[in-house]
Symmetry: C2
Subunit: 98 residues, 2 copies
Amino acid sequence: MFYENAEGKRFDMEYFCNKHIPMVKQKLGAACKGLDVDQGLSGAQPGSKPPFVAMAHMLFDSVDAFQNAFGPHADYIMGDVPNYTDIQPVIQFNEVKT
Amino acid sequence: MFYENAEGKRFDMEYFCNKHIPMVKQKLGAACKGLDVDQGLSGAQPGSKPPFVAMAHMLFDSVDAFQNAFGPHADYIMGDVPNYTDIQPVIQFNEVKT
């Protein structure tokens, strides 16, 4: 999930890291092999605006493993999103190559 | 670095993983604590187009540690980019939060 750095939008990194992510980890259980959060500092030039204010990367054995773990909790997890942001996240599934 | 999934653009994942990334690792040396490559599979909906065709994440102790390691090799590394893509990468610096 990537949260774009748009004018006038809010993102509460403290709530995200200390409330949302621990709750997500607890709901997904052992199927989630990793969950990293990055906070945007800058673009390529020092002091420039980062394209994304925050990113979260979740690691699963497969897309099916994600869907089986996330599906039953999707409504609960997505219902918590307005508590930390009003940014519509960019979501994509990746294969880890290296 | 994020490579956007734009119409008519090329990205050679085999060259990227087997030639470019090993060369970058060798140039950056021990300062680079981690280097992951993701290949976009889909967007949030199965079968939809992923926003990014590929992403690479490099981990350093600090922005300064990156600049000290990357700076002397920047021209050489960037000169290899046309060998695998004609996409202009989106670059940003992040702080790892969790």
